[in-house]
């Protein structure tokens, strides 16, 4: 555990190595990336196992000394960190493996692996940071990795735009995080999590200030985790290669926001308002994104909105004091959403389109991907016995126990929608007849299916580490030795589980009737409420609203600034260049190589000096 700092270094080595030698290695660079992430994974698992028996380990070194103020850098292995290490390195390893098949033949194959290494390094560094400052540094690095990977197909206009959008939207959140961080530092004089929590506990910070900082930091989490209203970048980020979507925009980076809130949980917990804000934003995002997911036709976009929705769930859990529920769902979601994305990537790989309207009847042709996709779908829908069921159940209980009944019902409806749109997706892809001509449909190579199998197994069994039936092992462990995080398991009425099961089964049934059995017309809703359908279809026009308001304002300002630039700054610049150019041209003319010219200049200079001396009073 003392050497846990090595874990992020393996991917960093991979990144640097591939940066330097990637061109020569070509596709062999995959092995470098895979091996090094495997090292990280093995080490993470060792650290996790060690963490079961030992207490939190923390090591720090002084980084900067400013006056009597010391900034430290180091790492910390507590329960949450150890768990996150395993999740991140596991998904990263599987995605590395998967990409070997998916990205096969790509020209910039080594670059892709280098970027993956950079991102993994940043993400692992993020989860073991012991203080806010270090977290922030890695937070931004993760953003860079995400930017690079979304824009990987930079020759595509849309990918370029999506990368920029992701970078800018998350930057809005980051500003909030930065301000919150600075406020906290101002109040407590430290970036250390421990010292901040101690200060909060002692009441060294006023209540308003806690609320303010917590909400500011939450804004950072909103940006990163794609919560309303900064969610719009996440669906667009699907322009990146699908393995990237699985790694970054499903399992790890977007979970960073949730992770941030979770690791600052004692701070949030000290403020009612902040908690309520988190819960409301989470619940609203969950239902909001779920409704959009109902009508999307791009396979990856559906999954993207589903991710946004699930992240909303996690936020709701955290905001309802369900620390364990949030982290638990973060873990299970990482597994089944990564599985879904990889499976979606496999489908795309097979049929070369992302439009589900054009798919159909793939069940027989993709005999391996189909069942795997089904497992992921069942898990996310919260069908009993799958991992999503247990974690979602925890969240619902937490929301109920906290007394947020409206939010609870919102979450239930969102669960219904989730089951519905996920199975809509499933049926449209796999059941029925092919809706367009599909040529060369073939199953993916085993290098792609094996990671999916691993994830599928985890998507099924990961839930059993924390169930009301077999003991809440994970929850107890997570909160061990830390009262501020609440209880390992929150007791809730037993009917909640039944309600959750019923709504998810209802959602599946409806989807089956509409899209597989076709006993209900698909256009039933869109023909009855075209207005609502249109609004949802266009994602509530959020992008358009942003375009009309913020982008327009920014454009007006930039136009004004451009005039200043053109007439004022450029004028000055041109004047300067003209002067310099004139001087240079004169100088060049004088440099004509004739001794007499040189002599003349030298002598005239001397004469001027002498005359000046004479006029100013004699010779020196």
């Amino acid at each position: 555990m003392e050497n846990a700092w090595l874990i992020p270094l393996f991917p960093l080595v991979s990144f640097l190595f591939l940066l330097l030698f990637g061109k020569k290695l070509k596709e062999a660079s995959a092995f470098v990336g895979i091996l090094l992430t495997l090292a990280s994974l093995v080490y993470s698992i060792l650290v996790l196992i060690e963490r079961f028996s030992e207490s939190t380990f923390k090591a720090e070194a002084v980084w900067l000394t400013i006056g009597n103020l010391e900034l430290t850098a180091g790492f910390e292995v507590n329960q949450l960190n150890a768990l996150m290490l395993v999740i991140v390195s596991l998904v990263s390893f599987l995605v590395h493996t998967y990409s070997k098949g998916y990205m096969h033949g790509d020209e910039r194959f080594p670059v892709f692996y280098a970027y993956l290494g950079l991102f993994t390094f940043a993400m692992l560094g993020l989860v073991i940071s012991p203080n806010l400052l270090q977290t922030y540094i890695f937070w931004e690095l993760v953003g860079v990795g995400s930017f690079l990977l979304i824009g990987f197909y930079f020759y595509k206009e849309s990918a370029k735009a999506a990368a920029k959008k992701a970078f800018i939207m998350t930057r809005i959140g980051d500003v909030g995080l930065l301000i919150g961080m600075i406020l906290l530092f101002w109040q407590t004089g430290s970036f250390e999590y421990d010292e901040i929590f101690a200060a909060v506990e002692e009441g060294a910070i006023s209540g308003t200030m806690i609320t303010l900082t917590a909400i500011l930091i939450f804004i950072g989490a909103v940006g990163k985790s794609g919560q309303f209203p900064l969610h719009t970048w996440l669906p667009d980020a699907m322009e990146g290669p699908t393995p990237v979507s699985a790694l970054i925009h499903a399992a790890t980076m977007v979970a960073a926001g949730v992770y941030l809130v979770a690791s600052l949980f004692p701070l949030f917990n000290a403020s009612e308002t902040a908690m309520l804000t988190v819960a409301i934003i989470g619940a609203f995002t969950a239902i909001f994104a779920a409704t959009i997911g109902l009508v999307q036709t791009d396979i990856k976009r559906v999954l993207a909105f589903s991710t946004v929705s699930q992240l909303g769930y996690m936020m709701l859990a955290l905001g309802s004091a369900g620390y364990v529920a949030g982290v638990f769902h973060l873990m299970t979601h990482a597994f089944f959403k990564a599985l879904l994305f990889l499976a979606a990537g496999s489908v795309i790989h097979a049929v070369h389109t992302q439009d589900i309207e054009k798919m159909g009847g793939l069940w027989k042709r993709l005999s391996f991907t189909g069942p795997l996709f089904l497992i992921g779908t069942l898990a996310i829908s919260g069908v009993p016995l799958f991992s999503g069921f247990f974690s979602k159940d925890e969240i619902l209980i937490a929301a109920w126990a906290n007394g947020n009944y409206p939010l609870f019902w919102l979450a239930v409806i969102a669960a219904f929608f989730t089951a519905f749109y996920m199975f809509r997706l499933f049926f449209m892809i796999f059941s029925g007849e092919a809706r367009s001509e599909m040529k060369n449909v073939h199953e993916s190579p085993s290098v792609m299916t094996m990671p999916m199998v691993v994830l599928a197994v985890l998507a099924v069994v990961a839930g059993y580490v924390n169930t009301p039936w077999f003991g809440t092992f994970l929850g107890d462990w997570l909160v061990e030795g830390n009262e501020a995080l609440g209880h390992g398991h929150i007791e809730g009425p037993g009917w909640i589980m039944i309600v959750a099961t019923v709504v998810s089964l209802l959602g599946i049934l409806l989807a089956w009737m509409m899209y597989s059995k076709k006993s209900i017309s698909r256009d039933w809703l869109s023909s009855r409420a075209p207005l609502a359908y249109g609004i949802v279809k266009n994602k509530y026009y959020i992008d358009e609203i942003y375009n009309q308001s913020i982008v327009f304002g920014a454009k007006a300002i930039s136009l004004f600034l451009r005039f200043i630039e053109v007439f004022l700054v450029e004028g000055l610049v041109k004047l300067t260049t003209a002067a310099v150019q004139g001087l240079g041209k004169t100088g060049a003319k004088i440099q004509n190589g004739q001794v007499q010219t040189y002599g003349t200049i030298a002598f005239v200079g001397l004469a001027v000096l002498i005359v000046i001396y004479a006029l100013t009073g004699g010779y020196l």
């Binding site: 003349t600 005239v604 004469a607 002498i610 005359v611």
Partner: protein
Amino acid sequence: MTLTGEFFAFMSLALVAVIGGVLLLNLTKVIHMVVALVFTFVSIAGIYVLLSAEFLAVIQVMIYSGAITIMMLFGIMLTRHHGDDAEPKGGMLRKLALLLGVLGFGAAVYFGIYDLDFQAVPNTLHENNTEQIGVSLFSHYIIPFELTSVILLAALVGAIVLARKDDEKEGDQE
């Protein structure tokens, strides 16, 4: 200032010297220029006489008026000089600047020297002038004198090498 023979001699010699210089600037043919300069050199020799430097005056006539002028004439004859009258193009600005510079320099220096007068000290330079130079040269200035011989030798060798090398090159070309 009294009008003495010395004054008249100085004035006439100076006039000839300056006229020679001005002719150097204004004549068009190269040969004429060189001949004009001979006047200047000879009148400078006269000035030397006025300044009790008879030996130098003789040397001046021999070296400048004789040797250097003849060498220059050889140099002119060995090279071609048609169509040299055309002044270099675009040189007007340079000439003007130079003229101003020279005039400014002259004025400034003249401003420094015009009322310069040292306490006249009786001296014996005019008595046995050549002997005095000889004694001084071969006793006090013997090392610079020897060095001068080295310089002249170097100049001699250098001049020969420069001329001969090109002869061979020209021979190769032809």
